[in-house]
Amino acid sequence: MKQAIKHKSELTGSEITFTVSEKLNKLKGKVLAPKKLADANKLLRKLKTPLPK
């Protein structure tokens, strides 16, 4: 049986069902949108002050 997680969104007022997908699970560990990630890392490396904890 597929695992389903209900989420009541306070922001949108909707109830959302997240269903765990075995097909998606196969993508775990893969770097998705690598260019976007590289851009984010580039920005973070240039950061002059650390992020608040």
Binding site: I16, V20, S21, N25, L32, L37, A40, T49, P52
Partner: protein, 148 residues
């Protein structure tokens, strides 16, 4: 922010990748949201795009499916669920184009009061992180769930 959202979303068991179907004037389009660990501790990059034929995120795709607000609201709801599970993580996000970053800036500005109830909302500007104020020109957003 009482927008319609897509309510059926597939997810990985680690809550890192989310897929949903956009339905609009151009038919059905599979959308994907992914949170990926960056080089900085506890900072995760948010990527959003269409799923292409290689099962990759194409964040430059122009879907034009007539459901932009519904997609953005769905992503907001996903971020809400994600940060509830991982409240100590920062999320960094920006558009893949200047126009999309502007769109995100407008969306956040429109709902800044209610978003600020839930999140610390920071802006990356000129290699500094500052508190975001409405309509501020930014390179990227950094958000984190506020401690309750």
């Amino acid at each position: 922010m009482k927008y319609e959202v897509y309510t059926e979303i597939e997810v990985t068991e680690d809550f890192g990748i989310f897929d949903f179907i956009s339905t609009g004037k151009n038919g059905e389009v599979q959308k994907r949201v992914a949170f990926t660990k960056t080089e900085q501790d506890k900072v995760y990059n948010l990527a959003l795009g269409d799923v292409d034929e290689d099962n990759e995120i194409n964040d430059y795709a122009v879907t034009d499916n007539g459901d932009r607000n519904k997609v953005i609201a769905t992503v907001a709801a996903i971020v809400e669920a994600y940060t509830k599970r991982f409240p100590d993580r920062w999320i960094i996000f920006r558009g893949s184009t200047v126009e999309r970053t502007r769109l995100y800036r407008i969306a956040v500005s429109l709902h800044l009061d209610e978003l600020s109830d839930q999140y610390e909302i920071k802006a990356y500007v000129d290699d500094e992180v500052v508190s975001f104020v409405k309509d501020m020109k930014i390179n990227a957003f950094l958000i984190k769930r506020k401690k309750s």
